[in-house]
């Protein structure tokens, strides 16, 4: 019988040459450190970001794309580590809804990420070693505050649009709540004003899987030659299921077997769906830092715009001048339409300018990353309307 643990091959963690990533990098918070929600001042820190298109003379055409939990700044170009195409090439590029000929697209790796922005793998100036768990716990608001410093650095006063799916959508909402005068339009996709109990629960499984891996070593593994490979892979496998839908899994895999005509009476990957998940887990480990995964999932768990506004979500957006376009997908059970609807009701309560579209798609939560024609049409229409009001040619 073959080994049941098909994901524990390889010992190395991600090999990312931070110094040679494509794109840009800036040191922020040198004069005044960024005071994080947890109370810790952070600074100076690095933000790695990528841009596409040109900023116009009026600086009115900047779009900030906020990436999701495991995304990064490489929105519309081959990934420097995996060589796979950018995570949102569906949406960003020449002739795409986020047309690089019309808009200046910015995407920054989030604080506590692992693609060049300061995170748990970065060097702690106090010790000269990687932070590990000494890195302060980050919130969505901290990520957004860091992005605001980047936008200031780029000399942009008002973003034409802040857009993102999933955790990206959380950042969009935080932008609209924290900096309404600096955001012309906001597009939270497959998102929510607060992370649900079910979602926190799934994140907790992922974190426990990582922390149960002996190679995790209390978060101090950077100088060792072992990496919490299996833990991070299992975390990814669990999470990946939540990004899909029952019907998509059934359609894609059914009960089909992997490279065999009958079951092997063992615990190897008999089923295609098992093989697929293992592959997802293994490839993820090649590009992601386990500690970053802990920190970023935590940031999502802590996100609750409702609680911090006297349990009234509407109070997060008083007299907001922002034009919103809220988008959800029928098969998304991680951030279901009901969450988007609650957000829309809150925005109605402050008479905000809001569009809300639920799109029929069976791809689950990840639908925002897929080729969904109605998503294209919605975004193109909304952005065109907003650009007209903003006076962007």
């Amino acid at each position: 019988m073959t080994s049941p643990s098909g994901i524990s091959r390889g010992r190395e963690g991600p090999v990312i040459d931070i110094g040679n990533l494509p794109g840009h990098s800036v040191e922020l918070g040198r004069d005044t450190p960024l005071v994080l929600d947890c109370g810790t001042p952070l600074g100076p820190f690095t933000v790695a970001y990528q841009t596409y298109g040109e900023l116009n003379a009026e600086k009115s055409n900047a779009v900030l794309v906020c990436h999701a939990l495991t995304g990064d700044q490489f929105v519309a170009e081959p990934h420097p580590v995996t060589s796979k195409e950018g995570w949102w090439e569906e949406m960003v590029g020449l002739g795409k809804p986020l047309d690089t000929e019309r808009y200046f697209i910015i995407c920054a790796n989030v604080l506590s990420g692992c693609m060049g922005t300061t995170g748990p793998r970065s060097e702690n100036p106090e010790t000269g070693k990687p932070y590990g768990l000494d890195f302060p716990v980050i919130t969505i608001r901290d990520m957004v505050n860091a992005q605001k410093l980047l936008i200031d650095h780029l000399g942009i006063v008002k973003l034409f649009c802040v857009i993102g799916g999933s955790m990206g959508g959380m950042q969009v909402l935080q932008w609209a709540a924290s900096y309404p005068e600096h955001v012309f339009s906001a597009v939270p996709i497959a998102a929510s004003g607060r992370h649900s109990a079910q979602n926190i629960a799934f994140h907790e499984i992922g974190r426990q899987a990582i922390m149960a891996d002996p190679n995790w070593n209390g978060g101090d593994y950077y100088s060792r030659d072992t990496y919490p490979h299996s833990g991070l892979a299992v975390a990814r496998m669990v999470a990946h299921i939540t990004y899909l839908s029952e019907s998509a899994l059934q359609r894609k895999f059914g009960r089909r077997l992997q490279d065999r005509s009958e079951v092997a009476y063992g615990f190897d990957a008999d089923f295609r769906v098992e093989s697929y998940l293992r592959h997802q887990g293994i490839t993820f480990v090649e590009r992601f830092d386990a500690n970053s995964y802990l920190y970023i999932t935590r940031a999502m768990d802590y996100f609750d715009l409702t609680e911090e506004h006297n349990n009234v979500l509407a109070l997060a957006f008083p007299e907001t001048p922002v034009r919103f376009c809220v988008i959800s997908f029928t098969s998304d059970w991680l951030f279901p339409t009901s969450e988007s609807r609650a957000l829309v009701h809150a925005l109605n309560a402050v008479a905000a300018n809001v569009s809300f579209v639920e799109i029929e798609a069976d791809g689950g939560h990840d639908s925002f990353l897929l080729d969904v024609p109605e998503l294209h049409a919605t975004l193109t229409g909304f952005l065109n309307g907003a650009a007209e009001h903003r006076g962007i040619a």
Partner: protein, 211 residues
């Protein structure tokens, strides 16, 4: 005719929508409840530069509106108006939708709470053709303005112009202006005590405000 035509001022609006559009002051804040394909919103946006929003019950209608750059959400006139703050809009519009709501009284009350003015248009069940249809045909009337058989109609709360005026009085809503639309599309002001209007109007359009 497409929304693009309407935006470019090429196409003509449906007769009742044109009457409503003429009542709206330029540059005002407008909520169109039951905005359908967005024709009125597109017209008001392009021709009157209003700050327009829409609510539409059909997801297909909503998605098409948003894809044309209109600010529209999926929602229900019966349940979703309560979310809006008072006096949030200059006009709240309900065109050809009142008769399909579950609680027309509450919908109209909410409209005049949310907006400084409300504009309501609906088919007149007192129109002579409707009356004759039932009187001589002995069947539920099916006319141009009421194009459904009884078993599939979404129109569950049909009323006559007189019925509507009486309801407004009952819920404390003042009628600032009433306009009758004849079968020909001809529009004329409704005299409050006009005897024949309730016979001749195929549709009524009313401008309302809180009493």
């Amino acid at each position: 005719m497409t929304l693009e035509d309407i935006k470019n001022g090429k196409g003509a609006l449906r007769a009742d929508l044109q009457v409503i559009a003429d009542l709206v002051a330029p540059g005002s804040r407008v909520l169109d409840v039951g905005c359908g394909d967005g024709a009125l919103l597109a017209y008001l946006d392009a021709q009157k530069r209003v700050d327009g929003r829409g609510v539409e019950i059909s997801q297909t209608g909503v998605n098409s509106c948003v894809a044309h750059g209109l600010s529209v959400i999926q929602g229900d006139a019966d349940t979703d108006l309560k979310d809006y703050p008072s006096d949030a809009f200059d006009y709240v519009i309900l065109s050809q939708t009142l008769q399909a709501t579950h609680n027309p009284k509450r919908v109209v009350s909410e409209m005049v709470r949310i907006g400084h003015r409300a504009i309501v248009s609906f088919p007149n069940f007192g129109f002579w053709r409707v009356r004759l249809n039932l009187l001589f045909g002995g069947r539920m009337p099916v006319t141009e303005a009421l194009g459904y058989a009884w078993y599939e109609t979404p129109n569950i709360h049909l009323c006559t112009l007189k019925d509507f005026v009486a309801m407004c009085r009952e819920v404390g809503v003042a009628i600032e202006k009433g306009i009758a639309l004849a079968h020909t599309g001809h529009a004329g002001d409704i005299h409050p005590t006009g005897l024949f209007t309730n016979w001749l109007a195929e549709q009524g359009v009313y401008l309302l405000k809180r009493d």
